[in-house]
Every structure is written in structure tokens, then in C-alpha cells.
């Protein structure tokens, strides 16, 4: 494999990761406001099917993507309503919606299976795409991949560099303190959850109209992506940049799995396909292990220099969620 192929492969990683980026950014925003949207797996499937169906019927790509966004926003609205206004468990509602939306996508998508639909064309950016290496990596993609780059930047900018973003951090951390500072906490939670849902809703169509074009029902290979995206969100520590890194790392590993497959014939393909999951468990393990009580007790029994070093290492790896994640907010 020569260097050109490697660069093209890496560029492919960026494109393949675009849907996951949308999902992860949307979920990060929603969780920053304090609402977990566990329905991601179902939303991605439903928005993929819906976007494809609308696109085929109307022969319009933009309408397909718009449909996907609306579906994502709609499902998120149900999650928001059930948890913010009705104060039911976010995990329960999200989980049920994950299953329902998946079944809905299979049922409603039945007539569309195997149809050929519009595909998002590639769009090299004139001039920039000629730069060696960088040009191929970043500027020879399609619209949605470029949009994924933009979404990462805007998410980071909004959360960390604007006043409303500061308030968003506050709402997720300590809603009562945000309330005292003038935030309409519940309204903001609605807005950010639905907005996050709309961004998640871009992930599905990006698959069915670009990366994995078409709708293939139960063998679409999309079932499971949403759960991985949730894990990447946690790994990302609710920080858009770190989460994006996680998404690209995941896509890279999948690509490596495909690339290395022929040279490792003894390892069945299932092992490589499923490799992200143990990896995900491993990373979740690492980011939280410092908090486990048995670890703290064992640390206390170690000699001082080892203890110091390990304690600092655990603290650096930590990923703690917004403190008020999952809890309803009431003033009285």
C-alpha cells in the first residue's frame, strides 16, 4: 500500500466519520443542557429511512436532508417533553424510542428497500483541493463532510466562547444557579435538546444519501451506530473537540480493520467488526476507574510517590458529565 492510497484512505475516514460526527455533536449539545437523548440508534435509522424516502419521492437531495433533520428534531422533542415537562425518566423514554424508531424505520421503509436514490455528489473546493496531502485530506469531499467540519467548530465556539454558551454550561452544571442568573432553564433545555436532535437527524441521511447510499432495511448495517455514538459522546467528555477526536479514531479503527483483514486471514471478520465495542468498554473503564472505591482504598495503601503519580493520572483521564445531567429542574 503506497502513500497515495493511505492518504485517500484517510480522507475516506473523514468522510465516513461525518455522520457519526453529526450524531455526537448533537448529543453533546443536548447533554450539556442536561438531557440525555438515548434514542440515537433509532433516530439515525428513522432519519436515514425518512431522508431516503423523501429524497426518492421528491427527487431532491436538500428535502431529504431536511426531512432527516425534522425527524431528529421531532424525536428529540418527544424526549424533551417526556422528561422536562412530564418528568419521566430520560433513560426509559430514550430507550423505548430507540426501539420504536428502529421498528418504524423497517416497517415504513419496506417499500423503499433496494431502490436507487439520489446521491450526494463530490464537491472539491477549487484551489484548496490542489494542495498536496492537505488538499486530498480535507478539500475533496462532499457537502455534508464539509458541514461536519463546520459543526465541530461551531459547537466548540458556541459552548466555550460565547455568553449563551457559558449559560449552557451553567444550565447543565447547576440549573438553580443558572435560574438565579436569569436563565429560563426548562425552555433552554427544550431548545438545546431539539437543536441537538436536528443535528443528530443529519446523520441518517448522510448515510442513506451518501456514505452508504440506499435503504436496505435490516441489513443496512446502521443498527448499532447510535449506541457507538453515545459511547463516543461520553468518551468525548462533553467537549466537542475531544468527541470529534473520538469519532475520527473510531472511523480510523474501522478502516484499519478493513485494510488489515486480508493480511490476517486467521482472525474472522466478526472479530474485527466487533472490535470497537470492547475498545469502547475499555475507554469507559479508563475514564471512570479513578472514582471506584476499591481503587481509592488500594491507592491509600501504596507508598507515597506511586500514589501521587497514579492519582494524578486518574484525574487526567477523568470525564465527568455535567453535574445536573438527567435530573429534572423545579423551582419549588
Amino acid at each position: 500500500m503506497d502513500s497515495t492510497m493511505i492518504i485517500i484512505g484517510l480522507a475516506g475516514v473523514f468522510a465516513a466519520a461525518a455522520p457519526v460526527i453529526f450524531a455526537v455533536m448533537g448529543e453533546t449539545i443536548s447533554e450539556r443542557a442536561g438531557v440525555i437523548n438515548l434514542s440515537m440508534n433509532g433516530t439515525i435509522l428513522l432519519s436515514a429511512m425518512g431522508g431516503f424516502a423523501v429524497s426518492v419521492r421528491t427527487e431532491s437531495l436538500p428535502l431529504g436532508f431536511l426531512a432527516g433533520m425534522l425527524i431528529g428534531a421531532g424525536v428529540a422533542l418527544i424526549v424533551a417533553f417526556s422528561s422536562i415537562t412530564l418528568k419521566q425518566s430520560q433513560v426509559a423514554v430514550g430507550f423505548v424510542l430507540a426501539l420504536v424508531c428502529r421498528d418504524l424505520s423497517y416497517f415504513l421503509g419496506n417499500p423503499f428497500m433496494g431502490l436507487a436514490g439520489p446521491r450526494l455528489p463530490a464537491w472539491s473546493i477549487a484551489g484548496l483541493s490542489e494542495i498536496p496531502v492537505i488538499g486530498t485530506l480535507f478539500f475533496r469531499h462532499d457537502l455534508m463532510t464539509y458541514l461536519s467540519f463546520v459543526v465541530i467548530f461551531l459547537s466548540w465556539l458556541w459552548i466555550f466562547r460565547t455568553h449563551p454558551g457559558l449559560m449552557l454550561q451553567g444550565i447543565g452544571e447547576r440549573p438553580a444557579a443558572a435560574f438565579v442568573r436569569g436563565a429560563n432553564v426548562n425552555l433552554m433545555r427544550y431548545v438545546y435538546t431539539v437543536l441537538g436532535g436536528a443535528i443528530i437527524g443529519l446523520a441518517g441521511p448522510t448515510y442513506s444519501l451518501s456514505v452508504k447510499a440506499g435503504w436496505k432495511g435490516t441489513i443496512s448495517g446502521l443498527d448499532g451506530i447510535g449506541w457507538i455514538a453515545l459511547a463516543i459522546t461520553i468518551f468525548g467528555g462533553w467537549n466537542p473537540l475531544r468527541a470529534a477526536f473520538g469519532a475520527y479514531l473510531f472511523a480510523l479503527l474501522q478502516w484499519l480493520g478493513l485494510v488489515l483483514q486480508p493480511s490476517l486471514p486467521n482472525i474472522p471478520s466478526q472479530v474485527l467488526q466487533v472490535a470497537p465495542f470492547p475498545l469502547m468498554i475499555l475507554t469507559l473503564l479508563l475514564v471512570n476507574i479513578g472514582d471506584a472505591e476499591w481503587v481509592e482504598r488500594t491507592l491509600a495503601s501504596l507508598p507515597e510517590p506511586t500514589r501521587r503519580f497514579l492519582a494524578r493520572a486518574f484525574r487526567a483521564m477523568r470525564a465527568s458529565p455535567p453535574a445536573a445531567l438527567g435530573t429534572p429542574f423545579e423551582t419549588q
Binding site: T162, L166, A300, S301, R307
Partner: protein, 490 residues
């Protein structure tokens, strides 16, 4: 700004928390609101600051009736409130906390804000580093930050809700000087809400006394302390004489124990606690008393030294081992850490007692519950879900779960937020345990409680531990100095 409240009423279910409150506060004065916990003071202030809504009544600012429908509304009218636990964002920086909520466009100009922060801080003689994180500040510093923020937003009325709990004597002094010399003098109206008679007397121009939701009386300088006490309690309640009951036998022995927490280190503690003794742990929040108490219970493992319980070496063993040898730990957060919401009172007793057999004997649970309800005067029934009990009754319930006999009871904040009757009742129950030989170690931010009920007092400051002080020979002032870091031989 002149503040006037007319006929304010507030109900929480059947609880008439504020009953026909009428009060006038002239501009530029310090109004004291005095009353014990549960009298309705905080509720009224939350109404005035927009946090909750009154069910009836009017509020007038400078003789104009206003509606305050949210905290944002309140600050627009110039009313700012400093909550007892300042409502800030511990994981964010001081500057971010300061800026958050200020209506100022899309992109913050950090350098301009930093400059304004430093100017304000200098004017009030506060020294806080804008880049440090709020969870590294003391309560006193967090209060200062909040005052700065409210001033920056243009507050003309400053409400302080129980500000002197958990701050050192010198921080209190500084707060009072700031209030009198820097704020009131500039025309700021200050409302000081507290259950601490002394503090309210020192600070206020005029005092309104609350009891059970009503304003039972007002007083102007000079104040008659006895009259105020009578208005607060309706009668003269005194905690009674001190009772020292320590015995010879040693219950807990700490030998060269060092404890390490995320933020501090306590080195080389040597202490012997005797049966029947009460030890009070005093100090600013986060000075190490919490970690110390957890280490004495087995919840935390010391990094050096030995812990002996009744002559048995239990160093490094878990809390459940300690429990088997007669130790119990009662947390401060009653509902979050001590009791199980969703279970009834009777079920709690079934949980706490030694089980007989596999199947639940519900009759036994009910009988046990009724017995304890009577003996601890808990307002509740065996089938009451635990979350339906009031704070004071929850604490009594928590206490009533203690088994018999015990060697050592470790309590975080036994009477936080409780009315005086509950406090006296709870301590009488605890002293009964002492008579049976149990030792008690407790944490409290109420210095008077510490001196009233302890035999010996340990003061914590930044992980340093004082020599045990004789409670009968120490004054509140001395204690206040020590918890603030003054008077320590280095």
C-alpha cells in the same frame, strides 16, 4: 431603595409558611430578620428575590408596586440575593461565574470584564483570583464573589440569607465591615436574615422577629436581648446544663494516622477517644473534618498509621467491618445519603435491624416502628413513606435507626437546619447513648452547638488539626479565631 412588603402569604401544601407579612425597610439601612429555622424567613426572601411566587400580597419598591416574577426580574429591579449556599458553579472559574448571566452581547470580552472585576474587588478590599476555580474557594470567598457579581449587575438591595454559618471569625468581621462601611453607607439597602441573635444585633439598624410564619415583633436600636429571645421562641428555651459523661475505657485509638483527600492532607494524628465522650469537630467547610470523620468510620482508608477499635486493630478495613464492631456513621444529607426515599418508615427499621430468617416479618417491622416513633417523637406513621416526613422528623428517624448497643457514633451535622426543639430533643437522645457508653464524634458549623455539647473540641484548618480543647473552657470567639486560621502555633 425603599422596600415595602404588604400582606404577603405563601403556602406549601398545608404549610402556611408566610402568614400576612407586612414590613417596611427604609433605603440605606440594615434590616435584620431574626427567627429560628423554619420560621418563614428564607421563604419570604425567596419571594422578594423572585425565586418563588407569593400566593397573596404586594411588594413596593420606592413606593411603586412591582411584580417580581423571576430572579432575572428581581435583579432588573435592583434586588440581589446571596443564598446560604451561594448559587455558583463550582467547576467553573471565578471569572466565568462572575460573567455568567450578565446581559452583554454574544462574545465576552474577557480582558474588559477582568479589569472591572479587579476594580470592584479592590474597592471592597476583597482578594480573589479571577482565574481560580470556585470549588477551590472557601464559603466566605464564594460569598464575596457573589456580592461582587450582584454589585456589578447594579443591585441596590442586597439580601443575605444565613451568611455567617460556615465562615471564620475574621471572614465574618470582614463581611460586617464591608456591609456597614462600604455598602450601607453608599445607600445600599441590606436585609440580613439569620437565626443567630448576636450577629443580627451587631449589624442591624432595626430587627423584625419571625416565628412560625408571622412577624411577631419589631425592635429598633438599642436592642433588648431578652425581649428578642422571647419574641423568637415564645418562651425561654435553654439547652440545659452541660453533661460530661466520659469514662475510662478507650473506644477509638488513632496512632500516627495520616489521611489524604483530593485537596488536602492530614498528617500524623494521635488521638484516644473514650467511652461516653463527645468530641466536636469544628472548622470551615473543606478543612478536613469530613475526611477525618470518614476515616474514623472506615469509609476512608488512612495512608499511614493505625486505627484501633476497642483494642482491635481495624486499620484499612471497610465500613461494614467497623459497623460489626459497633460503629455507625450518620451522613449530613439525610434524604440523599442516609434514608431511602421510596421505602416506608417501617421498612427502614426492617432494613436496619438484624434479620431473622429469609421472609420479612411485617408485623415485627410495624411494632418496631411504632415503638421508635413514640420514643423519638417522630411525626409519622409506620406506613409513611420516608420522604413525606419533615426535615426534623427525618433526622429523628435517622437517629432512631441506630442499633443498640454501640461503641461509636459518627455524625455529620446532626442538627443542620432544624428548629431548636428538635435540636434539644436529638441531643438528649444522643446523650442517653453516652450514658450507655457510646462515644460520639460530630461535625457542626454551629460553634455554640459544639461548645454546648462536646467534652473536647478539635479544630481543623487546611488539614491541620489542633490539640483537643476543653469545651468548658473555650469561648465562641476563640473557636471562631481558630477556624479562621488565627492563633495556631506553627
Amino acid at each position: 431603595m425603599k422596600v415595602e412588603l404588604r400582606a404577603i402569604h405563601k403556602y406549601f401544601g398545608n404549610n402556611h409558611a408566610d402568614n400576612d407579612i407586612t414590613l417596611t425597610i427604609p433605603s440605606g439601612t440594615i434590616q435584620g430578620i431574626l427567627g429560628e429555622n423554619g420560621a418563614g424567613k428564607s421563604t419570604l426572601m425567596k419571594i422578594l428575590s423572585g425565586f418563588i411566587h407569593a400566593d397573596a400580597g404586594e411588594i413596593l419598591l420606592d413606593d411603586k408596586p412591582v411584580t417580581i416574577s423571576s430572579p432575572a426580574d428581581a435583579i432588573r429591579h435592583g434586588i440581589g440575593m446571596l443564598h446560604q449556599d451561594p448559587l455558583d458553579f463550582p467547576s467553573m472559574s471565578v471569572l466565568d461565574n462572575f460573567m455568567l448571566g450578565h446581559p452583554e452581547g454574544l462574545f465576552p470580552n474577557r480582558s474588559v470584564v477582568t479589569r472591572e472585576f479587579k476594580n470592584l474587588a479592590q474597592r471592597l478590599e476583597f482578594s480573589i483570583d479571577p482565574d481560580s476555580y470556585v470549588d477551590s474557594l472557601t464559603v466566605g470567598e464564594r460569598q464575596q464573589l457573589e456580592i461582587l457579581r450582584l454589585l456589578w449587575l447594579g443591585a441596590r438591595v442586597l439580601i443575605l440569607d444565613e451568611p455567617t454559618t460556615g465562615i471564620s471569625a475574621s471572614q465574618k468581621e470582614k463581611l460586617f465591615l464591608t456591609l456597614i462601611n462600604k455598602l450601607a453607607v453608599q445607600g445600599m439597602t441590606i436585609i440580613f436574615v439569620s437565626h443567630k441573635l448576636e450577629d443580627v444585633e451587631i449589624l442591624s439598624d432595626s430587627i423584625a422577629v419571625f416565628r412560625q410564619g408571622k412577624v411577631v415583633g419589631e425592635a429598633k436600636r438599642p436592642f433588648n436581648t431578652d425581649q428578642l429571645v422571647e419574641m423568637m421562641f415564645g418562651k425561654n428555651i435553654s439547652p440545659g446544663p452541660r453533661q460530661a459523661m466520659s469514662q475510662e475505657k478507650s473506644v477509638l485509638w488513632l496512632d500516627g494516622v495520616s489521611i489524604e483527600d483530593v485537596r488536602l492532607r492530614i498528617q500524623n494524628v494521635n488521638l484516644e477517644i473514650r467511652a461516653g465522650e463527645v468530641i466536636g469537630l469544628a472548622g470551615l467547610e473543606g478543612s478536613g473534618q469530613g475526611a477525618f470523620l470518614r476515616a474514623c468510620s472506615g469509609l476512608m482508608r488512612p495512608v499511614a498509621g493505625y486505627v484501633k477499635l476497642n483494642d482491635r486493630d481495624v486499620t484499612g478495613k471497610s465500613y461494614h467491618v467497623f459497623k460489626r464492631h459497633g460503629v455507625e456513621f450518620l451522613p449530613a444529607a439525610r434524604l440523599e445519603e442516609g434514608l431511602v426515599p421510596g421505602l416506608t418508615l417501617a421498612e427502614h427499621f426492617l432494613l436496619a435491624e438484624k434479620q431473622n430468617g429469609v421472609f420479612i416479618d411485617r408485623e415485627r417491622g410495624r411494632n418496631l416502628a411504632e415503638e421508635r416513633i413514640k420514643s423519638f417523637n417522630i411525626k409519622g406513621r409506620p406506613v409513611s413513606p420516608i420522604e413525606s416526613l419533615s426535615g426534623g422528623n427525618q433526622q429523628r428517624a435517622l437517629l432512631s435507626l441506630l442499633r443498640d448497643p454501640l461503641s461509636l457514633v459518627l455524625i455529620e451535622h446532626p442538627t443542620r437546619g432544624l428548629d431548636i426543639e428538635s435540636v434539644i430533643h436529638i441531643w438528649s437522645k444522643l446523650k442517653e447513648r453516652c450514658k450507655q457508653g457510646a462515644a460520639i464524634v460530630f461535625i457542626s458549623s454551629d460553634l455554640e452547638e459544639i461548645l454546648q455539647y462536646s467534652d473536647r473540641v478539635l479544630v481543623f484548618f487546611s488539614g491541620k488539626l489542633s490539640q483537643p480543647l476543653d469545651a468548658s473552657k473555650t469561648t465562641v470567639e476563640q473557636l471562631g479565631q481558630l477556624i479562621g486560621g488565627k492563633g495556631w502555633a506553627s
